[in-house]
């Protein structure tokens, strides 16, 4: 009996049922592109499809990686997106100052909803699974093709069922849950598969934490990371979602490739050591001096993450040897930070607060690391050279840990903060 992925793909392919391994051509609801993956896609489009009108209602263009333009080349890259949008009258273009990191904007702006099939030319497009959508990352050439035809080929994935029960300890967030699971399954443990999440822990998690979990499904190699939608999701979507949607759930007797069970009450506040997200370890066991603390990205740059870090930083100071860099994931998050007084807490603590961008998450700008430097970061990847010099080191962690470490100058479990 079908899983969520199988049901969504079957419906969008106009088939009664599909099986894992089958290749289908399915109609997508939306195609998202950012400034980096956009440029090659626009080139492919203009070269090959210029006689066809793009499906403008399906296209969403969000510059975020190298905007505000970091140099002349990125300025030209960003302009190619702006030009493409205006040439083809694409309304869903989110200019600097009215957007932010693509995945956050997609969710905030109501494009994401249960049962939808969404592709994005960015690997963390899997984030939208937190709202019950089947969403996955694609490349630029296929994004161009999907803009023209509205269709793409998919290999129907096997599904892994991941059940997380129990009440998490203090300061354990969605980030710690996903780091522990990736630590267990490994960075290719879910290759080509969908992770479907269940259990009392997942049900009680706020949407922000669920998005963190779905966001990092790709870090286990997964194609999608889907959480069955519930009231938390429906409430969030009220007054926000564009169009109608129909939630999709797996059948009771759905067939899973594997079932994994975890007890979140046993999980510690966790960091992933360089150079793979699977190198999960309790934060309290890591004794490392840091140069930078980075709070932001599509993984943990939401208002809930800002609140968590601000709760730790309030009335405290960032260590003299540390730069703390705070990058809200969207203009909306930034606006709320101002409203709630979080901006003031960060600035008084001695942190640098930037506007929304991908920034240093991918080693772009706004906090790139020098040779040998160490950063504790709320982002999702700690690959060699990901945030700068190839000899720099990135430790992945939740916002509490990043804020606590910023204060002490060493990687710190917030439970150990005096």
């Amino acid at each position: 009996m079908p899983t969520i992925s199988e049901k969504i793909l079957a419906k969008k392919a106009g088939l009664k049922c599909v099986e894992p391994g089958q290749i289908v051509e399915a109609e997508v609801d939306f195609v998202m592109l950012n400034d980096v993956t956009g440029l090659p896609a626009f080139e492919v489009y203009e070269k090959n499809f210029s006689t066809f009108q793009p499906l403008i209602d399906k296209i969403i263009l969000i510059p975020d990686h190298y905007v505000p333009n970091k140099d002349v080349r990125s300025a030209e890259q960003a302009r190619s997106m702006r030009n493409f949008a205006s040439r083809h009258h694409i309304n869903n273009y989110f200019e600097v100052g009215r957007g932010g990191v693509c995945h956050q904007v997609m969710i905030e702006s109501g494009f994401v909803a249960p049962g939808r099939l969404i592709v994005g030319a960015d690997s963390h497009t899997c984030s939208y699974g937190a709202l019950g959508a089947f969403s996955t990352g694609i490349g630029s050439t296929e994004a161009a093709c999907a803009m023209a035809s509205g269709k793409l080929w998919f290999r129907v994935p096997e599904t892994q069922k991941i059940v997380v029960e129990g009440k998490p300890k203090q300061y354990v967030m969605g980030k710690d849950i996903i780091l522990n699971v990736i630590g267990d399954l490994g960075v290719s443990g879910s290759l080509y598969k969908t992770m479907e999440w269940y259990g009392s822990t997942i049900n009680s998690l706020p949407l922000a934490d669920r998005i963190t979990i779905s966001n990092m499904a790709i870090e286990a190699g997964a194609k999608a990371g889907i959480i069955p939608p519930d009231d938390t999701v429906f409430k969030f979507l009220k007054g926000r979602v564009r169009g109608n949607y129909t939630p999709v759930y797996s059948d009771k007797d759905a067939e899973y490739a594997d079932v994994f069970e975890y007890d979140s009450s046993e999980m510690e506040v966790t960091v992933a050591e360089p150079f793979l997200p699977e190198n999960a370890k309790p934060a309290s066991e890591v004794d490392v001096t840091i140069d930078q603390a980075y709070l932001g990205s599509c993984t943990n740059g939401r208002i809930e993450d800002m609140r968590a870090a601000a709760q730790i930083l309030k009335g405290r100071k960032v260590h003299q040897n540390v730069r703390m860099i705070v990058v809200p994931a969207s203009t909306e998050v930034q606006r709320r930070m101002v409203e709630e007084g979080l901006m003031e807490i960060f600035i008084k603590a001695g942190a640098y607060v930037a506007g929304p961008t991908c920034g240093a998450c991918l080693g772009g700008y706004m906090g790139v690391l020098a040779d040998g430097e160490v950063c504790v970061s709320t982002t999702n990847r700690n690959f060699v050279g990901r945030m700068g010099h190839k000899n720099s080191r990135v430790y992945l962690a939740n916002p509490y840990v990043v804020a606590s470490s910023a204060i002490t100058g060493r990687i710190t479990d917030p439970n150990d903060l005096r």
Partner: protein, 162 residues
């Protein structure tokens, strides 16, 4: 189709940040990207690569970012195909769509060995050892796509619709 080339060996989990560092993501041009392939991870790669060379890697090749710049950079640098135990899925899609041949196989070889890959027969021969191994080709739809490219496939589809 037969491909002959020297082996460049890599381990598990070669990510797209290694294949093409993010600082070069301001162009989509394969040749220009190819000049920076593995620039930080293996600086000798672009200096010594010869057109037709073959990458042989472990598990999860091409993990990480969705950047199509990665297979474009490899093609631009002259890589004729990549043989790995497994591929990360977006890298896999991108390569199929733009026509960089991928082979899922586990083979014994050393850096610099010369391999002869027969894509239609599904065999890889190591010229040094004489060993020949077979591999399973991808489903017909993907093999066609790899040959034709997704752009041409989509064009045909659109013309039919018109």
């Amino acid at each position: 189709m037969k491909l002959t080339g020297r082996v460049w060996k890599f381990g598990d989990n070669v990510d797209t940040d290694q294949i093409i560092p993010a600082v070069y993501l301001t162009t989509g041009d394969p040749r220009e990207l190819g000049r920076h392939a593995f620039e930080f991870a293996r600086p000798d790669f672009v200096k010594k690569i010869k057109r037709g060379d073959i990458i042989v890697a472990g598990k999860n090749f091409g993990s990480g970012s969705s950047r199509e710049h990665a297979p474009r950079a490899l093609m631009g640098a002259g890589v004729s195909c990549v043989i790995a135990k497994s591929f990360a899925r977006i890298f896999f899609r991108n390569s199929v769509n733009i026509g960089l041949p991928l082979i899922e196989a586990s083979i014994e070889c050393e850096e610099g060995d010369v391999l002869v890959v027969d894509l239609s027969k599904g065999t890889i021969k190591n010229k040094r050892t004489g060993e020949v191994i077979g591999f399973q080709n991808f489903p017909e739809f993907l093999m066609q796509l790899m040959k034709k490219g997704l752009v041409n496939y989509t064009k045909e589809h659109l013309k039919r619709r018109k």
